[in-house]
Homo-oligomer: 404 residues x 4
């Protein structure tokens, strides 16, 4: 134990922090990385191809295993169908297990087939809705094969012009399709419904905000919940408030982490507005300590969803995981007893200070200590870079898998 850590621990204990509990929470905290985050992605103007990008799902899993190896907190990997489609999912499960991994959420793709030009589950043509629904059912089957219990639905459907579509008719189509999908879920499976204000649809999006996801989820039943992607809100949205609201309603099921300054920029989580990320975790941790919300909080799937356009993929993923861990650690340090007292006394200055000061705390000594106790190196990024893995995969060449 370093002198620095000892001093740090003493200081926190003096502030009333239960260090044992904090460490325990940190050790059991897991974040899922996405298979597509290891591949090439870009903007509508250009995808810059990188050397060393994985050429198939197996290589993506290898890269994901690196992130898990050095951070110790990413044992599951989300997959995207058909980008990650294979003939034999048994082999995927097996290879993942060899790498110390499991398959996480299964993500259907309802936006890239030519048939979906005017919508998938909301398409005015019954056969296209049928096709889209079948794809959802296929994803449920795949999830069962790979022992996954989460289907993450991002529905890109929407319209570009006033008049183009009938909002309510499309809503009815969507509800019908979702009902069929919901009924096909296995016993322990959940359908997480994402929302997004715009892009690729530029006038209206059929599931545009959390209220729509919530309404659909509520009508479907307890296995359906809302998925919050941090980049899918209009400017100015108080995301932590939405998270708290959904926690209270028992209807938040997962996160897609990333960051943005403008629209759905899909940047490294915590890189643009780290305080917002911290405040979201503050709500999650508080809810995990309240009886009425503890179970909902415990079941939340923490997943990363980013597009690394100019960054090297594996370091970008490690950085994302570490930023999440940092925000989570800081949020664990909030003295909730004192905060409650300040809130009950309407002491705005004190309440604000308790939250902000936890954010301002340097948690590096803590995280290094926790990593050592977990048998990890204290600096995951440096350790990865020194490992030579980044150079090794260059032999894969250019033109690995992107969003295809």
């Amino acid at each position: 134990m370093s002198d620095e850590y000892k001093l740090w621990e003493k200081k926190q204990q003096d502030k009333g922090v239960n260090i044992g509990w904090v460490k325990e929470r940190l050790k059991s905290f897991k974040v899922e990385t996405p298979s597509w985050g290891y591949g090439d992605s870009g903007t509508r103007f250009k995808t810059f191809k990188q050397v060393g990008v994985p050429r198939n799902l197996f290589e993506k899993l290898e890269d994901a295993a690196q992130v898990n190896k050095y951070t110790g907190m990413c044992p599951t990997v989300a997959i995207h169908i058909p980008w990650d489609k294979v003939d034999d999912y048994g082999k995927v499960k097996e290879y993942a297990a060899q790498l110390g991994l499991k398959i996480g959420a299964v993500n259907p793709n309802l936006f890239q087939d030519d048939d979906y030009k005017f919508g998938s589950l909301t398409n005015v043509k019954p056969d296209i809705r049928r096709k889209a629904t079948e794809h959802m059912l296929e994803c449920i089957d795949i999830a069962k094969e790979v022992d996954s219990n989460i289907i993450s639905l991002w529905l890109a459907d929407g319209t570009n012009y006033p008049g183009q579509g009938d909002f309510r008719m499309r809503k009815h189509y969507l509800e019908q399709c979702l009902k069929e999908v919901y009924d096909a879920l296995g016993d322990n499976m959940r359908l997480l419904i994402e929302y997004k204000c715009f892009e690729p649809a530029f006038y209206h999006t059929d599931i545009a905000d959390w209220g729509m996801s919530y309404t659909f989820s509520s009508k479907l039943g307890p296995k359906a919940q809302v998925l919050v992607d941090l980049g899918h809100h209009l400017q100015g949205t108080n995301v932590e408030h939405i998270v708290a609201f959904l926690l209270d309603e028992g209807k938040i099921g997962g996160f897609h982490f990333n960051n943005r300054k403008y629209a759905d920029d899909d940047l490294i989580v915590g890189s643009i507005n780290p305080y917002e990320l911290f405040l979201i975790f503050n709500e999650l941790i508080t809810a995990s300590l309240d009886e009425s919300t503890a179970q909902t909080a415990a079941n939340i799937a923490y997943m990363i969803d980013q597009s690394h356009c100019i960054e090297p993929k594996i370091p970008a993923m490690i950085r994302s995981v570490l930023n999440i861990q940092t925000a989570y650690a800081k949020a664990l340090l909030v003295n909730r007893n004192e905060l409650k007292q300040a809130q009950e006394a309407d002491d705005v200055m004190a309440a604000e200070a308790i939250v902000r000061e936890a954010f301002e705390t340097d948690v590096q000594p803590l995280l290094e200590a926790v990593r050592e106790e977990m048998g990890l190196q204290p600096d995951p990024m440096a350790t990865y870079i020194k490992s030579g893995y980044g150079e090794k995969i260059l032999s894969r060449g250019i033109g690995g898998k992107g969003w295809e």
Copy 2:
């Protein structure tokens, strides 16, 4: 019937418009004006006082009667308690009736008492929640006295800083209070719950978006519905989509009309983005023609809520009413059969054109004809200005009632 109108009618009939139906809808369309819209209002920097502003509720009703007299479509007036508090509401009802008016929605005020500095229905102190709830109950009593069946709740509660309040605890307080209020509603009464993204609270607002209003309304029951204020959304929100969604859920109960370019600017409705206003009415009219949504659409309370900071109050109100009528008339002209066909054929260009061209139609000939059939002058604004009423009220002097 003017030559211009004859030509106009012929052209519309050739396009398949049922002019008789359009006129009937226009003649039965009503908009409520707010008592406070006749008084002084301003920004945090300055309220510019105008000469002739009404000094009490009775004078506000006199002004509102002028708007109704010339537009023929504003027979009800919303009141705001305590701004419009009087000893004897029987007299108010009687005076309104003499003026050809009725009292419309009753609006509680939960933001101006010193006790509400840190919240009203969400205040951490039980006695302040009690006081706020009692005020709501008082408003229900007043509503019963004046034969009103709508309580419009705009809850300004929120916080300015992270940590200041406990989101979920405040939500619980709010739900308890709303339950008590809901249970006190009379048989035909409705509680309309407004939402707002920010202001006066600058970090979080307890009812921040339609999803929160919807959740509260749904849990309360059928007498609770969402109230949509056009200025209470984040930039980029597709309001017509939200309206359609709520119509489909049977949970939209009313509107607060106004317009804005930035935040909740409370400008004259239709003055900044007239196409948006038209698109909202397009959804409302379509829903009124569908069996599943007709009843919800029929019960919507159309109300104006504006702050006329630099405009003369009565002309600003007449303009607002006329802009609403114009948007409504244009939306009635949409050929919904052709639109449906274009939508079903995925003919984006045709569908867009049908909607846009209805908007581009000049409805002045129609509105003049309708007014004449209603026994009104064709140009309400010019007729009002010529009437001399604006000069007559100057004798009221300066310093009439504002938001107080």
Copy 3:
């Protein structure tokens, strides 16, 4: 002359409109269409390929000629290098002339070469800046060959993360490169400098707003001016104010027309917020009538820049041109004498009404009359569709040129 038009004309003349002048302005008004607007484009998620899309610049010119044929107002076509690169620009000029067209603005591409991953004119590496500058110089040479006198520079350069780039160093690089480019402009040539708040860069964009374009243009000299793309502003921006400001400074050189509800959605101009488009033209027309701004206004290049992701390309372009013509026509009807009087009397209601009522006027009778006087069919869209051209080009097959 139809009865409808006669009535329309009479009514406008009674309002003080000089119809002869309005028609003259409409007949001489020109809009440039972009070669790339006839090709496939999409979002980062998917480009839906259309059958019949042109396979080379010559076919793009053929399509553009159709738009000009039916609208009578699009005799020039902007090109994009290298998307439209050919061996012999003499042939391009010649073929365009046969089609009744000329080549308009030349648009360099500084965002699609792998070398530009971290910037082009702002790249930290001198050889890449050299390459980008040479490309600009090449575009000037091409412009000279095709008798174009406008270079439109959209610089996509920027960074995705805090710290990634040195803002001021990049600014210096940019100024050096632009100086060299500026000095190479021919006598009658202009460099129009576009700005954009974000995308594809997600943290900072080197030319982020009009103020930056203006600063660079001012320092370069009179041949450099600002190019305003309607979709490149943050939400809430008052674009017409910026246009008026730049007109007054003599520093606006052109427009890229399109529309958006959220970000740079590149939708059909006038389809989302037609009032804004009208208000912009209102400023342009007023400036054209003032001695101090007339010359600047006269030299503005009106250009369309859109991405037709789901629309058929030629109809989408015709619609765009017609929407611009409609907005322009309405703005010509503003009674500027009365407006000036109302403004000088601080009569807010009257001033607003003069502007709004011009917008609410149906200009279809006028536009049909003008088209007939120009020897065109009154309904360009219907005439094009009936022409069979859309079917004829289907033989080109799928997979024509997109953004490549």
Copy 4:
């Protein structure tokens, strides 16, 4: 020197930080507090009056002296005319001196007089422009009397509706007035021109963005510079980029610090988005180290401009000052040599990490050490609260000066 600080210093030195230089910069860093920040302020809905608020300028200075006493970095106080108007400014200067203070920027008020309903310096009526100009000249005289060399101009002028005003005519009026004001500035005086996107004007604001402030400043001459208020931007604006751009142009003269989540919320600086504040200081410090920008950076006036609606005034001001100091200290820790190397190598991940890690550093040990070396208590907030001053001023009663 505490063990904690010793460890902290060692760690920073190992990272290449020059601690002596950092401390020197911190000791010489000054922030100006505003007289009006000690008074009552509110929203358009309500101003909650606080007990103990100063009743005149002299009491405001007493409160400001408290902030300076405990933070050691606020020796100047901005004043607002006419809110702080007195008969004898000699007495003000003298009393300030007794309190260890000087008067800082003089802020004219061009928005609260009834004459300014339709504009002040841009008013269509010459006599009102004259009055407004005279007020500016009066402020220059007052500045001379109190030995201040900064006039901060926030111009609230604008319009609420399309058509209401003539953008270019108003621009001309403004330029004429500013010219006269500029010419009256004393030798060492500067005119800092603020910009704001909206409020209180809701359609257009005459000085709407930095580009307009920059244009006016540039045309006036070297004594005119841009003033950046952190809350006066549209959502999504990259403020640090604007700051860097203006530094490079030598045209930034000062800041109005505050924070916001939505519009111009005027919250405690650093309370909503602390990373943005840090990134702004990062630009300022880098510019202070470059020869070409050092002088501009050295002359920047750091000023707070906030509205404490629900917070106790003096603690809110201390918190603001400390948040600024914290951000400044963190920005001093950025290793600029390493950053430059990473930028030149296009190493996005390394460059981003250098900046972010400086932000994540806990600077509390450093700030405590610096305070002790300055003869201050290590915890200014706690020391102030313990001092009893907050209780002492309660005898002033309620109803002290607000924005009046």
